[in-house]
Every structure is written in structure tokens, then in C-alpha cells.
């Protein structure tokens, strides 16, 4: 890096662009904080004006959340949900990446697999729940399967697109240097499609969380969805809000974590967000 900053005009341009965007993020942080404060303030004011016991105030939600942390119920439900999301998402991505690669690389696999994926992509995973329950029962398997399917379908398409979008010139460049198919795949196609895979993983994570609550509505012993469903029957809107916030925070944190890994692995890209 130090050598690169010697005199090249491109380096200067890249560096100044980088610092400009860094500066941009830095100056936005106070705004992020401000918008949160304003948002929560508006929520508090709205709660007071509405004067409806079913609209919880921010403070009562915090109190309710704190109580459920102390008695361990929040952790119990959160860990159950988190485990489901991680297993379902993990399996989904673990299968989607090789499947996407095979579809992008072998026309035979593509022809046989793509129609199914395109079809099931248009069916919301939740619509499969009734069928999944009949076949897999109302146990843990059914819930994880639905989350798995949602993650898989989001990620496989992105990976497949990534492989399809690999610049032919790069493949030709590898071929003329003496690379055979396997080398081209490992050293060109995989790195070139990494940015797409990460986009797919982040979409998959969103789908996994989106599917979670619904998958827990049916006879789950624990989980955030279960917790909210139970609270709903007692008009306990504070607990529902705690569940919503928990899902939001966890989803956001995992997304940022993926983004961080992505930035590190794809720092070579010309354009960066």
C-alpha cells in the first residue's frame, strides 16, 4: 500500500474518494443518533396523546424488557429463535452456494434445477407451512425447514447470477495463461462471484428472520414468535414490542456483521458503497 501511494494519479483519486466517503459516514453519525432520539420521542408523545393502555410507552417497553431479561424468559425465547435462524440460514447458504455454482457452471444442472427454483421462488415459504407440518409434523424440523427454504431460495439465485456475470475476458485471460476448468473455477469464478454471494447471504438472512415468527406461530414451545403470540392473547403489547425490537436488533446486528466480512473479503472491488 505504501508503494502504491507514491505518485500514481489513480491512487490519488482513489485515496481522495475514499477519504471523502469516510468523512461522509463520520458526519452522518450525529444524524443517526438524532433520528433515533426524535423517533423514540415521537413514540412517547404519540403514546401520551392516544391515552390508550394498549399503546405502550417506550419506558414501559424498556421496563417489560428488563423484567424478562431478569427472569430469563427473554433469553430463553431469543436463544430458541436465534438457533432456528442460524441453523436454517446456515444450511440454506451452505447448500445454495454450491447449487448456484453448479447451475452457473453446468448448463445441464441449470436446465434441470432452475425451473424448480424459479417456481418455488414465487411461492412464499410461509405458504408451504401447512404442507410442511403435515409431512414433518409440528416439531423443530418443520420450523427449521421453512427457514432453510427461505434462505436457500434467496441465496441460490444470487450465487447463480454471480457465476453468470463473471467477466468472460477474465476467464479467457486465465485460459490463455494455461488454466484448465477446475483452476478457472477455483481461482476466477469463485472470487469473482463472491460479491454476489454476499448479497445473496444478506437477502437470505432477511428472509430467514421474516419466516421465523410465522414458523413459530404453530405450537412452538419457545421462541420470540411464540412469546409475542402468547402475549397477544393477554393484550400484553409491551412484550410484543420487546419481541419486535429484539428481532430488529438481532437482524440488524447480523446484517452488519455480514457486511463487515463482505467489506473485508471484497475490498478489491472498484466501486464500494
Amino acid at each position: 500500500m505504501s508503494a502504491a501511494s507514491l505518485e500514481a494519479p489513480a491512487t490519488d483519486a482513489a485515496a481522495s474518494k475514499g477519504s471523502r466517503s469516510r468523512q461522509g459516514t463520520r458526519s452522518l453519525v450525529p444524524l443517526y443518533i438524532a433520528t433515533f432520539v426524535i423517533g423514540i420521542g415521537l413514540w412517547a408523545v404519540a403514546g401520551m396523546i392516544a391515552d390508550n393502555p394498549l399503546i405502550p410507552s417506550p419506558l414501559s417497553v424498556v421496563v417489560s424488557g428488563w423484567e424478562s431479561i431478569l427472569d430469563g424468559t427473554l433469553w430463553e425465547h431469543t436463544s430458541a429463535s436465534l438457533l432456528r435462524v442460524l441453523v436454517g440460514f446456515g444450511l440454506g447458504v451452505a447448500l445454495a452456494v454450491p447449487a448456484g455454482f453448479l447451475m452457473g457452471w453446468y448448463w445441464l444442472v441449470r436446465g434441470l434445477v432452475e425451473p424448480w427454483i424459479q417456481f418455488f421462488r414465487t411461492v412464499p415459504p410461509l405458504a408451504l407451512i401447512p404442507l410442511v407440518i403435515v409431512i414433518l409434523g409440528i416439531g423443530e424440523n418443520a420450523r427449521i425447514f421453512v427457514i432453510f427454504l427461505a434462505s436457500f431460495l434467496s441465496c441460490v439465485i444470487a450465487t447463480f447470477q454471480g457465476v453468470k456475470n463473471v467477466d468472460v475476458t477474465l476467464i479467457n485471460a486465465a485460459r490463455v495463461l494455461g488454466a484448465k476448468d477446475l483452476t478457472i473455477f477455483a481461482r476466477v469464478v469463485v472470487p469473482a462471484s463472491t460479491p454476489f454471494i454476499f448479497v445473496g447471504m444478506r437477502t437470505a438472512l432477511g428472509s430467514a428472520w421474516a419466516t421465523l415468527v410465522a414458523s413459530e406461530l404453530v405450537a412452538a414451545p419457545s421462541g420470540l414468535g411464540r412469546m409475542m403470540q402468547a402475549a397477544s392473547q393477554f393484550l400484553d403489547t409491551e412484550t410484543i414490542m420487546v419481541g419486535i425490537l429484539m428481532i430488529g436488533i438481532l437482524g440488524f446486528a447480523m446484517d452488519r456483521l455480514l457486511l463487515l466480512v463482505e467489506r473485508r473479503l471484497t475490498a478489491w472491488q472498484e466501486v464500494r458503497a
Binding site: 508503494a3 502504491a4 500514481a8 491512487t11 477474465l170 486465465a174 495463461l177 494455461g178 488454466a179
Partner: protein
Amino acid sequence: MTALISVQEASKIYQTSRGTTVSLDRVSLDVEEGEFITLVGPSGCGKSTMLNLVAGLITPTSGSVLVRDEVVTGPGPDRGVIFQQYALFPWLTAQENVEFGLRLQGLSKRDRAQKARHYLELVGLKDFANALPKELSGGMKQRCAIARAYAVNPSLLLMDEPFGALDALTRVQMQEDLLETWSRDKRTVLFITHDVDEAVYLANRVVVMSARPGRIKEIIDVTLPYPRNEELRLSPEFAELRARVWRGVHHRD
């Protein structure tokens, strides 16, 4: 004496939904070892097709392409290709890019690094070995691509409008540098361009092609001696050759 490259009655015909395109029409060309050949012509004259045939990236519809008397059936490290869009692997540093082909030849890590450094130095990129392509200017990227092609020690360099995306000043500088590199480490070069000046300045033979169908129209010997320099571009001999090539490219018969 047998030619290094021998293109024999090669045709390339593309079938598209809009009909048949004859990209190359029974073209023959022999290139001797150590020659610097430029192919010049309007777009659609099949000059890139010709290069891709020799590279082995495509196969002729009829006719054949021989390199050292062997029929070309696919690409190989004996024929290095330099693309207009640089085609550097963006996730690898300059040095790792140059090492790519060396690694495929099974060289040890140390030998690879040593060789890569040597060729980066040859093209003046010694200080940028650890830079990613996105940190390099257009001219530097192309120099890195040239180092990468040289490193695997091809007997033939195929260059597909390598300086086409560069600005006029960088382009002239790159021509100088290429001739300089070439004079120190001689390879046979097949160089495609649509720039008449460039074609005459670099080559010992200029192959003028015409479009639709792609054919060789004329082959002009450039008798100017190497090494060549900027003075030469202003000489009357250069002007005369350039005029001949120009007429060849732009006159239709």
C-alpha cells in the same frame, strides 16, 4: 524455413438470428519467428477474430491455424494474450497477477515471486508489486498485463488493441515502452490496432484488412530500422508508409 504461425485459408462464419456473418473469409498469413506484425483495419474486418483464432479461444469454421506446424486446438501458455480491457484479476495484487500463470506452471513460491518481480521491473512497475488493479492507472494496468503475459515465457504475444482505451499521450508512451521491452526480450508479436500511426510505428509488417467479408487487403513491409524513436515519426519515410497504410485502410475498391 517454416513459419511460427501459419494461418491457412481460415474462415469464421457466425450464424446469428439476423443471418450469416462472414467474419473472416479464407484468410492466409504466415508469420516468421521474431516478427512484429500489426493488423489494421476498420471495425468488422475480422482482426480480432484472427487473433482469437491464433490464441485458440475460437476455432475456424474452415481452414486451419498452425503454430510451429501444429494445429491450434485451444489456448496455451505458448501464446500470451493481452486484452484491450486489461483483464487483470481485480482481487489479486499486481505481483499475484503476474504470478498467476507461473503458479500454473508449478513454480515454487520463491521462483514465482522472483520471476514476477523481474517482469514487473521490466515494465516499470517494481514499486507497485503490492498494489491492487483498482489502485493502478490505465497505462499501469496494461503494463501489468504485459508483464503477466511475458512471465509465462510465450513464444508469441497476441495483443488485441491493447492501448485502445488509453489517452493519446499515454498511448505513445506505451508504444515506446513496448518496443523497448520487446528489444530487450524479443518475442514474436501479433498486434491489433485501428490506429494507422501505431501500426506503422511498431511493425516490421503491416497487414491491412478490409471488412465484410473480413479479408487481407494488402501487406506492407515497414523497412524502417529498429530501434525506433520519436524522431522517426516525423521523417518523410514514415509519412510515406503511413500514407500507404492509410490509403489501404480507407479506400474501398
